[in-house]
Symmetry: C2
Subunit: 498 residues, 2 copies
């Protein structure tokens, strides 16, 4: 789909360059092929959960890249998870230490959905543009071009920007202002389930004053963005039971219970058409926005009209606007399946209906409590909840039976936007220019985990275009984002001071 | 699935034999292999819509089978539809003429869902029983055995019963009491769309006093059944639109409209959990049950507890019971698809949701009016209805957009249970024993079409077991049903008098 939104903000994005360090920007302009080449090289590593050897090889290569730059670099390895890459490079005389986090694993791929091989990067002139051979193109490359490949955006672009920024500073003779630590993990896309356990024995080595998360997209205005939190989440799959086998709906229609209709009732009892969650008291635990957070939201660049056009939306849920909406908890219907539609539709009452629903949680909410509230609510609505497929006796004994399978469960976090570390981060990121400040990203990143583990400020430092298809086919990174990111990372390494 | 219900009624079903003509029953008992062989032979013809040559070959063979029995037999042929087999055999001195209708086409097959080849009949000892070789088995064959194959029940069993009953009467020297006409069509499973046009030039040749429909299952009590009508129907597929592409529900959840949630609202606005249709005035056109119809329903054998166990149902929709429920119009959700569930579930807002819904209509209701009422109701609920995929401008202009595709559309019919023809049919079918009388079958058969065309009483003469999987994989016929059907058809040919 042609992005209707992209063109309008091209000028805005260019203005961010006012803050760039001249020597770094000059190095970047002179090394475009090398920068793209570094990202291209990383994307060719098959670092996806389905390929443990690919994850291992990627981690080993990242270790080499750090060592080549004078870092102490080690791998935390275990048979149960992809290696964690740790790196450290001290800066003589620096008071502060900053951890740069990113993940090197990518989302699973379904190659048939891609227009090119997910692990053989290709350059295109735009999201649906012509294919171009960047290796023979003259510099400057068109900044609207995009490199396509799994993890090209999420997060190998951040890793590339980190490495190239380090090289640019070195080539320019600019000394870092902080001690630099690196934490690159390989199972974020599977939920970072082993990360805390892997890191816990190394907390001394990871001692720092600030953690920057090189994950997530820029604000849709394509402006330089920092975020100070992320929503949490939990989710469930609900299976609603009808007759044991599909029944002719002529002979049994409006007598045998229709599970698709019951599933619809279950959904509409939980959330309304405006996205309001209908469980009584559900919003009671929600921590209100602080004054600085409200102020930041009030100053966000306007994007909604453009996004509505881009997405073909004739309305939005609720009337709070995009950002305030994502500061609230959400209950999303992710999928529903029952019976057949299209050419396979039959005059039958389906035997069951399966619904996938996901909560997005906000600070103050506890996943286990939300799960309990949900079950209590459904029970009060007449549902009998089971957690394994019911036997015949159970089916016969309960008029409304639903099997719930819970997945995930992690809290939200919004860290203090007014702390000294936060103010220093804003100043360094902007280099004097304004920065788009998002109190909380709508999507989840392992920010709560780092807060728990390190008790230091954790701030999101996104660099990718918002329209990067990061969890879908044809993931891509705009070159403009990569150029800006090299400059941004150079500022974060050399201008952070507090 | 093991039928929990089958065993309980085995004795009841046996009692129907009290009425059998002794000579016919003796012939049947002596010719079990021949009777099964006739059905086996017919099932091997691939008479499904996907195989026009198979339909042609079946019709030609049926014509031969009629000619061999002294019938005038012709085929109505046309490039647009499967041949219609017409047959006639006059009975000297008979005052009345009866048309025996059945269809020789079967439902489409998905062979991967079958446990055996749909066109190579196999005998099993029960619905999930052992495979047995009926060709080497000694007579009497176990009447609980079932022959599996597409159309083995629906309707090649009726055609077989007709042929074998005719042979039994002839062998027994029993003269038919009526002139016999045969109408066997080959596109019932596609909605008999061309049947009226095909028959209209031949109305003189088809002149008769009664039409018996050899289609549909027996009552679930496995007792001898006649039905006097069938529900009508119409249906639609609704596509509800969300964002143009799947969106990350962390970044956009409870701002971008969720089409699965909207689809749930659409369903629950149209029908409640008890099957009540919520369109104001929807039931106004419904013709009330006549006294004879109410009386017949009150005398139906009780089957609900058994069916609930068989189907694993912890409740039913409504409290009227099965038969009264199917005397009302129904709105069935046949299927719904949106986003992904299971291992493929993603944290995404799906781009659309597709719902397949089917109305079952009752006498008094006009399909076109029901369609209009539905669209008016949805419009009043805030939906904008389109009948083709919307362009971007249409999406942007309308907050709630749904594309409706209507299919089908045929009225219901309940014919007079007290007419002389009806009383004669009941008497001949029962041979003095009680008959289960169903004022209207829940499912559709082309009964309204014959009523329109011929203006004669139309009565359903079902023979198959209700658990025959007729519109699914592993369609099957119980031998007991075939044995009873040979006797039943012999009575209908030789004892019908009014």
């Amino acid at each position: 789909m042609k992005s209707l939104f992209a063109a309008g903000f091209a000028l805005l994005a260019t203005s961010a360059m006012a803050a760039d360090i001249p020597e770094v920007e000059a190095w970047r302009a002179a090394h475009e092929a090398q920068i793209v080449g570094q990202l291209d090289e990383l994307v060719r590593f098959k670092s996806v959960a389905a390929d443990p050897a690919g994850l291992q090889a990627t981690a080993a290569h990242l270790q080499d890249l750090l060592k080549a730059r004078g870092f102490d670099a080690t791998l935390l390895t275990d048979k149960d998870y992809a290696p964690v890459v740790l790196g450290e490079r001290k800066t003589p005389g620096a008071r502060r230490t900053v951890i740069f986090y990113a993940h090197y694993d990518g989302q699973p791929v379904t190659p048939s959905e891609w227009t090119s091989d997910p692990f053989v990067p290709v350059m295109r002139t735009g999201i649906d543009g012509e294919y171009v051979d960047w290796k023979v193109a003259r510099s400057p490359l068109n900044p609207a071009w995009r490199l396509f490949g799994r993890a090209a955006a999420d997060d190998k672009s951040s890793i590339t920007a980190f490495l190239m920024a380090f090289d640019a500073l070195k080539a320019s003779g600019i000394k870092p202002s902080v001690n630099i630590k690196v934490l690159w993990e390989g199972e974020e896309e599977r939920g970072s389930a082993h990360l805390a356990d892997a890191l816990r024995p190394h907390l001394d080595a990871l001692k720092a004053d600030l953690l920057l998360i090189g994950d997530g997209p820029l604000h849709q205005s394509r402006t330089l963005t920092l975020y100070f939190g992320a929503r949490g989440g939990t989710g469930f799959e609900a299976t609603v039971y009808g007759p044991l086998r599909a029944l002719h709906n002529g002979h049994y229609g409006n007598w045998a219970p229709n599970p698709a209709s019951m599933a619809a009732q279950l959904i509409t009892s939980l959330r309304d058409d405006e996205g309001r969650i209908l469980i009584p008291g559900f919003y009671d635990d929600v921590r209100p926005l602080a004054a600085a957070e409200k102020d930041a939201i009030a100053h966000l660049p306007p994007v909604e009209d453009g996004l509505k056009r881009e997405f073909g939306m004739g309305r939005s849920e609720g009337s709070d606007g995009l950002t305030l909406s994502t500061m609230r908890p959400a209950l999303n219907v992710q999928g529903i399946r029952s019976g057949q539609v299209g050419a396979e539709a039959a005059g039958a009452i389906p035997p069951d209906a399966v619904i996938s629903m996901g909560y997005r949680l906000v600070p103050g909410q506890v996943p286990a409590h939300v799960q309990q509230e949900t079950e209590d609510f459904l029970t009060a609505k007449g549902w009998t909840i089971v957690h394994a497929p019911p036997d015949l006796a159970t089916r016969l004994a309960h008029p409304r039976l639903v099997m719930l399978k819970w997945g995930g469960g992690y809290p939200a976090l919004r860290s203090d936007m007014t702390s000294a570390a936060a103010q220093a981060t804003i100043a360094a990121a902007g280099g004097g220019s304004p920065v788009t400040l998002l109190p909380m990203m709508g999507a989840g990143v392992p920010i709560y985990l780092f807060d728990d583990l390190f008790h230091i400020p954790v701030i999101g430092l996104p660099i990718t275009n918002h329209d990067n298809n990061q969890h879908a086919a044809n993931e891509n990174l705009r070159l403009k984002n990569l150029w800006d990111a090299v400059n941004l990372y150079a500022r974060m390494m050399s201008q952070l001071k507090w």
